[in-house]
């Protein structure tokens, strides 16, 4: 029996559970002995002119070696604005010289001998800023009254798509429109950002930093600093979560590299959580208007999604995000007419980056809200409206109205399966009884169907490399360009290699995240790793077997076609002649047994599913509690169900978090209101139920494993399902929509307003 598809516990865990993983700030690398500690002085003003930066007092503080300001950073070009469709005037300074554009903008760096000295000295740097009006929210940004980059002439960072055709909703019996907020959230990986750098006598720099792809981070750092990439050796230690926010390098990492060269000593930096909540990218932050039209029999014929993307102070992923949302706008539905457009706007806030799902949760939330609004308007069960409009089952590629090419799917089966598992009819009966009794705690039932794109080409292609070597001692080494930070590639990639070689998982070491060992790689993001990196390992194992057969044929004086893999012996045998074989290890003893391969996926894949959520809402206080979450998440063939379920769990939780709790808030002057974890309501164990996972697997033909991505699916499905459930819990009181997060106050107020309007 194949090891694939079995629940193999992680080989990473014994060390993680005893000595602890070794994150960037834990490194005891001898090259970092005596490293200086960098402490970044950040703007406490959202928008303003920098009048002066006085470092004199800080320079006198104990342990201070240097205080670096913009004036010291000669010869460095500002950070580029980004893709060609982005307003190119919106460049980012390394350290603010003239203008600060958000609370957290970097102004100076203090270098000290000891960690604790840094905070003391940083307090002594006096930054005099003449405040300008802050630009908070997309509405304010779009007015262009106050420009963050006057030379850009506008706050519009990028515009995507054209206006809707005038006849989009012609012939619709019913048209519903709603403004929907997909609020700004903070990714909050438990490990904050950290980087350290040391220049060697050979003129090369070794950089350690927490990221989701060493090769990409290295390329960015070299590019920004104008360094020959060959001089940069980037090492990714263990990483304490990323969720998209650690894709690539952050400017702080490159600054550490520059500082280490500037002072001629190793430099290390790790941020506090308070700094992280200002300085690390945020996610989502879309203001949407959905319009949906159709007939009273439940058929939806036209759908429009207009997006204002808050991009934050400096363009990063902000202008890219709505493009993915537009692509996935119709989701699982066969709406004949779909229109989507977007603009990204600069505001006096932290920049927007990728966050679990990155663009697809925003698309799903919009369309799933729209379908529920339509169902409520025509008085039809939302499950029935969905069934009527879902794309029918298909196993040859299906092109959507927005041009996405879905690989395979059966959305109706997913919905039916989740409704059956949840006992939908019974739940509706219970809800009716609750409503009839006028209970204080009312049931809400919410659902969402989703499809998303994984393994998309985000500029690095749909390729991944793998190197596989079997050693004479019977162990094997896999080198991969993926970058696990919790996903368990060390285990899963070993399973994939073991499946074809018979070498036990515990004898296979998986290495990643060192650009000298693995020069090329796409990292881990966009749920690409298994379908590309895992497939590359699968391909490498196949190639290694072929190479071994060629070698063994000579040694055994056999025809290569007569050789078969003997998994039990971790080697080859002559077909039909037991006891005549040779192990891979023995072949490696004769001559190095190593293959290096590049796998190229045929196309992205489109995992899909359906979530059903039950909430209980205390209608007197407005507080909603999730009591059940039932999900179908079809990600094709599953290699390790234990780990795949773990990905689903984490994703589901982050969706609940966004739907009910989390939001990054600024006051009108641009002061962050949620800059510690005491204020930012990160979801905890008490707000979540156990998750009820329902199995469904529709393999894809895009890779030999049949696997689609699973990393983000849970979040994409659960977010709108929870939101829809909360709205449903008070729908009988006249409520049609509540924005996320559905806080008790929002729910209570929605009920109050609905009742006033009803009277």
């Amino acid at each position: 029996m194949s090891i694939l598809g079995t629940r193999v516990v992680r080989t990473e865990d014994p060390l993680f559970l005893t000595r602890g993983a070794v994150y960037t700030d834990d490194l005891a690398d001898p090259r970092l002995a005596g490293a200086l500690h960098a402490t970044i002085v950040r703007s406490t003003v959202a928008h303003g002119q920098v009048l002066s930066v006085d470092t004199s007092a800080a320079l006198e503080a104990p342990g201070v070696v240097a205080v670096v300001t913009a004036a010291d950073l000669t010869g460095l070009d500002p950070l580029p604005a980004g893709a060609p469709n982005v307003n190119q005037a919106m460049t980012r300074p390394w350290l603010a010289a003239d203008t600060v554009r958000f609370v957290g903008d970097m102004v100076a760096v203090v270098l000290t001998e000891e960690r604790y000295q840094g905070e003391d000295a940083a307090e002594l740097v006096v930054v005099d800023i003449d405040p300008l009006p802050a630009v908070i929210g997309t509405e304010a940004a779009a007015r262009d009254d106050v420009l963050l980059f006057p030379e850009a002439g506008t706050n519009v960072v990028a515009a995507l798509g054209g206006p809707a055709p005038e006849d989009l909703f012609d012939g619709c019996e019913v048209v519903v429109t709603q403004r929907v907020v997909n609020q700004r959230v903070a990714p909050v990986p438990l490990e904050t950002r950290a980087a350290s750098a040391v220049w060697g006598e050979d003129g090369r720099v070794t950089v350690f930093c927490s990221n989701q792809g060493a090769q990409q981070a290295k390329g960015q750092i070299a590019g920004w600093l104008g360094l020959d990439p060959a001089l940069v050796h980037l090492v990714t230690p263990d990483v304490g979560g990323g969720f998209g926010a650690k894709i690539g390098a952050d400017p702080e990492f490159a600054l550490v590299v520059w500082l280490a060269q500037h002072v001629g000593r190793a430099v290390r930096w790790s941020e506090s959580r308070s700094e992280n909540l200002l300085g690390m990218v945020h996610g989502r932050a879309q203001d949407q208007v959905v319009t949906v039209g159709g007939s009273r029999d439940g058929t939806i014929t036209a759908y429009s999604l207009e997006i204002d993307q808050d991009s934050g102070a400096y363009p990063r992923f902000g202008p890219v995000l709505p493009g993915l949302t537009m692509l996935m706008a119709p989701g699982t539905y066969a709406f004949p007419r779909v229109h989507a457009r977007a603009r990204a706007l600069a505001t006096s806030t932290t920049s927007i980056g990728a966050y679990r799902g990155a663009g697809r949760p925003e698309a799903t939330a919009a369309v799933e809200r729209a379908v529920d609004l339509f169902a409520a308007e025509i008085g039809m069960d939302p499950a029935d409206v969905r069934r009527k409009n879902l794309v029918p089952a298909f196993d040859t590629p299906f092109t959507t109205a927005t041009g996405a090419v879905y690989d395979s799917g059966d959305y109706t089966a997913a919905l039916d399966r989740v409704l059956a598992a949840a006992g939908y009819e019974q739940l509706r009966a219970e809800q009716a009884a609750c409503r009839a009794r006028g209970d204080v705690r009312q049931l809400g039932i919410g659902m969402a169907c989703y499809v998303e794109i994984t393994g998309a080409n985000t500029g690095f292609g749909t390729v991944e490399e793998a190197e596989l070597e079997v050693h004479a001692d019977g162990t094997a080494t896999v080198l991969t360009g993926t970058s696990p930070h919790g996903q368990g590639h060390a285990t899963t990639w070993a399973m994939i290699a073991s499946d074809q070689l018979g070498i036990p998982v515990e004898k296979i070491t998986v290495l990643h995240g060192d650009t000298d060992r693995v020069p090329r790689g796409g990292g881990t993001m966009g749920s690409r790793s298994l379908q590309q990196g895992g497939a590359a390992v699968h391909q490498a194992a196949g190639e290694l077997v072929a190479l071994a057969k060629k070698r063994a044929a000579e040694l055994l004086e056999a025809n290569p076609e007569d050789l078969v893999v003997d998994l039990a012996a971790a080697g080859l045998a002559v077909r039909g002649t037991p006891g005549t074989g040779i192990s891979f290890a023995d072949l490696a003893a004769e001559e190095q047994l190593l293959v290096h391969t590049t796998f190229s996926a045929a196309a992205p894949t489109f995992p899909f599913g359906a979530h059903l959520v039950v909430v209980e809402t205390d209608v007197e206080s407005g507080k909603a509690q999730v009591v059940r979450i039932v999900t179908v998440d079809d990600a094709g063939t599953i290699v390790n169900p234990l780990l795949a379920d773990g990905q689903r769990h984490g994703g589901i939780a982050q969706g609940v978090a966004q739907a009910l709790l989390e939001e990054v808030l600024y006051d009108p002057d641009g002061n962050p209101q949620t800059s510690t974890l005491a204020d930012y309501p990160f979801v905890s164990a008490t707000e979540l139920p156990d998750f009820e996972l329902v199995e469904m697997a529709t393999p894809t033909r895009m890779n030999p494993l049949g696997a689609k991505g699973i990393g983000e699916a849970g979040t994409i499905g659960s977010t709108p399902a929870v939101q829809n459930a909360v709205v449903d819990s008070v729908a009988h009181l006249g409520v049609r929509h509540i924005d996320m997060p559905a806080t008790p106050m929002r729910v209570w107020r929605a009920v109050q307003q609905a009742q006033q309007e009803g009277n």
């Binding site: 905070e119 307090e123 206080s621 507080k623 905890s684 707000e687 008790p744």
Partner: protein, 286 residues
């Protein structure tokens, strides 16, 4: 984030602590569990130059019945940790509201460190235990350079992080009347289980023919009693009628968690629920 530098003095008795406070004046701060003080020191919102650590004065950690008969009270040492209070058999038998509320403070790790005296001295307007104490009544016992004095709980919490404690004084004991058969209720409204309450209401049913008492958290600059509700109950109003008055005389703030209107609504709702629990025969079921 780390605190600014300070001098550290370890006191092993009340006398040593008072002497240290006298020596260092207003730049000195007492630290017990440190779970209110250290977080704000790390954010550098508090920058004391001297910390006097009283957490080692173990004789200030106790829960016992003091006195006999009708005059008996429950005496609780100021350094009793929330976890000790939560699990104290004496507290559970005599003043059930207090250990129940102690078990709702923060999370287990916080309860293992935080002390009753510390939370009372810190006087956060959203604090659970001061709210419960206000509903229970009783006295705060202070030690100072001039000896000991007693301040009724109802006169102790003066305003925003402001108490009746003078410079150079420290809390040594809380004295709480026994509940006897009187019921109680505590309604803490949070978004997450271990958050500070957006609003909380503590209710204690009338004892010995007296009227019920209700106290509120986070409805003003400090914890306070719902006096309009108490007066209405004393005048014979129903729970629903009295609870509708709970926000009277309060001055709730509007912040990112809730605005004043919603807080007032919560005060009325939670007061009603706490009173209903307090007057339900199986009151300790909570």
């Amino acid at each position: 984030m780390i605190p600014a530098p300070f001098e550290y003095v370890r006191a092993s008795s009340v006398e040593e602590a008072l002497a240290a406070l006298a020596e260092h004046g207003e730049d000195a701060k007492l630290i017990a569990g440190g779970h209110s003080l250290l977080p704000i020191m790390k954010l550098r919102l508090a920058v004391p130059s001297v910390l006097v650590d009283i957490s080692g004065i173990r004789e200030l950690s106790y829960v016992r019945v003091d006195g006999d008969g009708a005059d008996a009270v429950v005496a609780i040492g100021a350094l009793t940790r929330h976890h000790e209070l939560e699990t104290s058999d004496v507290a559970r038998a005599e003043v059930g509201l207090l250990p129940h509320v102690a078990g709702r403070v923060g999370d287990p790790q916080v309860r293992h460190r935080g002390t009753l005296g510390g939370t009372v001295a810190h006087c956060d307007p959203a604090s659970d235990l001061p709210t419960a104490l206000l509903a229970l009544g009783g006295d705060v016992v202070l030690a100072g350079p001039g000896g000991r004095r007693t301040v009724p709980v109802t006169e102790f919490f003066l305003g925003f992080f402001e108490t009746a404690m003078d410079d150079g004084e420290m809390i040594v004991e809380l004295r709480v009347p026994r509940l006897g058969d009187a019921g109680w209720g505590y309604e803490k409204f949070t978004r997450r289980e271990n958050d500070w309450p957006i609003v909380a209401a503590a209710a204690v049913a009338g004892r010995d023919g007296g009227a019920a008492r209700v106290a509120l958290a986070n409805m003003a600059g400090t914890v306070l009693r719902a006096t309009a509700t108490e007066q209405a109950l004393a005048g014979g109003a129903s729970i629903a009628e009295a609870a509708a008055l709970a926000a009277e005389g309060t001055s709730p703030t509007s912040d990112m968690h809730a605005d004043a209107e919603y807080r007032s609504h919560l005060a009325r709702l939670l007061t009603r629920r706490a009173l209903e629990t307090a007057t339900t025969p199986i009151s300790v079921a909570a």
